[in-house]
């Protein structure tokens, strides 16, 4: 066990100590840093459960904001659901919307501040159940914003109830015998629905369960912000993710379950990409 890695949370102190001790041998010098927490992410520890995909999704958004250098011009909209505290983690101006209304709030912000980058961050209950109307109309108007849609097929914050995107047969606290389509309808592929709308410029489904998927997810989020910069209209990025606590699995198991069950039903990839301009 390596003692030098257990000094505490103060990264700078840790780095300094680390470098002093083994300055010449160490790889851990700032020139060699290839991956670290983005600046737009605050140092507040996240309230999410261990292994929850929200954290990765947050980090990717923050990384893109950092890389594009748009921290001072970005305004985020947090949903109701697990990500209700998202504004604690992004070092940007943020507005906390009522349940399902994030895209309407984002519309309001973008319309009066058209030169700012506006994104909403919403879960499946927020975006695909209570806020379906706002979501579809915001997309259909082609608001020049980015919507990040976190789909884990369950209500996390309220304790594991069935979501519109819960898979058939999936056991939740309100579908304790599994989602029965006769009684409870079918999982809603809202992203497929949204991709049909002419106001939507870019629509993609990604995941964050493996390093490869994380890289692709970041690219999709980058595209969303970039198209907004170019005034192209609405970008919609669905991130299929896990909910270890409410799926009642370990984080590693949940990512495996996601790969075997969620992704086959919610296939990853671009649903709508801009036509090549000649």
């Amino acid at each position: 066990m390596n003692e030098r890695r257990m000094l505490g949370s103060d990264q700078e102190l840790l780095d300094e100590h680390y470098e002093k001790v083994i300055a010449e041998e160490s790889v851990c010098i700032s020139d060699n840093l290839v991956y670290g927490k983005p600046e737009t992410l605050t140092s507040t520890p996240m309230h999410y459960c261990p292994g929850c995909g929200h954290g990765v999704a947050h980090r990717l958004i923050a990384e893109v904001i950092d890389e594009m250098g748009i921290q001072e011009k970005t305004i985020g909209v947090a949903p109701v659901g697990c990500a209700v505290f998202a504004y604690n983690y992004f070092d940007i101006d943020m507005s906390e919307a009522a349940h399902g209304r994030a895209s309407a709030v984002a519309t309001g912000i973008k319309r009066v501040l058209p030169d700012r980058y506006v994104f909403s961050y919403q879960g499946d209950g927020d975006l695909a159940a209570i806020g379906t109307g706002e979501t579809i109309h915001t997309c259909n108007r082609g608001e020049n914003i980015l919507i990040v849609f976190i789909n884990n097929g369950i209500y996390g914050m309220t304790g594991g109830q069935m979501a519109p995107t819960s898979l058939v047969g999936m056991k939740t606290t309100t579908s304790p015998f599994g989602r029965d389509t006769h009684e409870m309808g079918y999982p809603l592929k809202i992203t497929e629905l949204i991709a049909q709308l002419p106001g939507v410029y870019y629509c993609s489904r990604v995941a964050v369960n493996t390093p490869v998927h994380v890289r692709k997810a970041k690219k999709a989020i980058y595209n969303g912000f970039k198209y907004q910069e170019l005034n192209k209209g609405l970008s919609f990025v669905e991130i299929v993710t896990n909910c270890p606590s409410n799926w009642k699995m370990t984080p590693v198991e949940s990512n495996k379950w996601l790969e075997e069950n969620m992704i086959p039903f919610y296939p990853l990839g671009d649903l709508k990409v801009p036509k090549k301009e000649n």
């Binding site: 001072e72 504004y87 309407a104 912000i109 501040l113």
Partner: protein, 358 residues
């Protein structure tokens, strides 16, 4: 030079919105106020560059207002009763997040889908909350189209002074009728950037968060106390009312908005019959002029509240008078406007009772 025009209530209000330097309007069509959205759609953008957006619902409208108001812009919406009911969740959020905005309710009769005819049955909803939690709107009740115009300007001023949502509570009759108005000159749109607003976090300041979520009860109580203190201060500073012939009146009519106009005619008729009738008209429904009304109950022992509802402001009149005098009520519901004659009849009946008792 005075700019006088003959205008329909809703259109005059919309004209005032443009002239007040409003930055954005979000709304959804509903009778009897659709002319506001129509007028703005036609006029506003070309004249001041203000944003006018027809939303997919009142729920979306009020949340667009929430988002835009959070940026420190002058924003508003308008609707009529059922639409305002749909907005209540958003209004509660706006009140808690202390965002300035203007909400116009051109009231129609309820409950339910009701009718498109005018009513005053949203008094409780406007004054006593409407949405969840302890919050207050500053409620302005215009009685003329001139006042509808002036209240738009005043409303925006109060909204930013107190960082509080303002409601103009008018009705379908005022919205639809035509009257001569004097328009105020165009106020240029302000591009002031507020520290508290979400405009993009600049390096020199902390990030702005617009939220009504405070999960620690101690913090949430602190927020509530802060709001209540603000409402007490508003009660001290912003009470507005109008009094007519109240000093030596036998009976004082208490009415707001449209009914106050009808009461004026009824008072004239009563004067011809030898009954001395005063009129007390609250202009702000929150803050309500309790004290003034209470003082009036020193001389006058009989009050008649006239409303286009089942007796909503009546409760505040009774609270104000607090047993010092008798309070009678005349109300019409379902979109019926009381006539001066029926008010006169009621006045005569009350007067007879007073004489008999003497």
């Amino acid at each position: 030079m005075k700019e006088l025009k003959l205008m329909k209530g809703n259109e005059a209000l919309a004209e005032a919105v443009i002239r007040a330097g409003c930055d954005a309007y979000f709304g959804y069509p509903i009778t009897p106020q659709s002319e506001v959205l129509e007028y703005l759609s036609k006029e506003a953008h070309a004249r001041t560059g203000m944003v006018v957006l027809q939303a997919e619902s009142e729920i979306a409208s009020i949340n667009m207002v929430y988002g835009a108001a959070g940026t420190g812009k002058k924003v508003m919406t308008s609707s009529s009763s059922p639409g305002i009911s749909l907005m209540q969740e958003g209004i509660s959020y706006i009140a808690c997040a202390e965002l300035p905005c203007l909400i116009v309710n051109v009231v129609r009769a309820g409950p339910g889908l009701g009718t498109i005819q005018p009513a005053q049955s949203d008094y409780f909803q406007a004054v006593k909350g409407g949405g969840h939690g302890d919050y207050k709107l500053i409620v302005l009740a215009p009685a003329t189209i001139q006042e509808m115009v002036d209240h738009v300007k005043l409303g925006f001023e109060l909204a930013f002074k107190w960082r509080n949502p303002i409601m103009i509570l008018t009705d379908g009759a005022l919205g639809q009728m035509m009257e001569k108005v004097e328009l105020f000159p165009q106020i240029p749109r302000s591009f002031e950037i507020f520290e508290w607003a979400t405009t993009g976090k600049r390096k020199e300041r902390e990030r702005s968060i617009i939220t009504s979520l405070h999960i620690q009860p101690e913090k949430m109580e602190e927020i509530n106390i802060h709001l209540q203190n603000k409402y007490r201060a508003i009660e001290k500073e912003e009470i507005r009312y109008e009094m007519r012939d109240c000093e030596d009146a036998d009976i004082i009519l208490v009415a707001f908005g449209l009914t106050a106009r009808i009461c004026r005619k009824a008072a004239e008729l009563a004067k011809e019959k030898g009954i001395k009738v005063g009129i007390f008209r609250p202009i702000t429904l929150f803050p309500y002029p309790y004290e003034v009304l209470n003082k009036l109950a020193g001389n006058t022992k009989m009050f008649l509240t006239v409303e286009m509802n089942a007796g909503q402001m009546l409760e505040d009149v009774k609270l104000a008078i607090n047993g010092k005098a008798d309070v009678e009520f005349l109300g019409r519901m379902g979109g019926i406007i009381p006539t001066p004659e029926e008010i006169l009849l009621k006045l005569e009946e009350i007067n007879q009772g007073v004489l008999q008792n003497e």
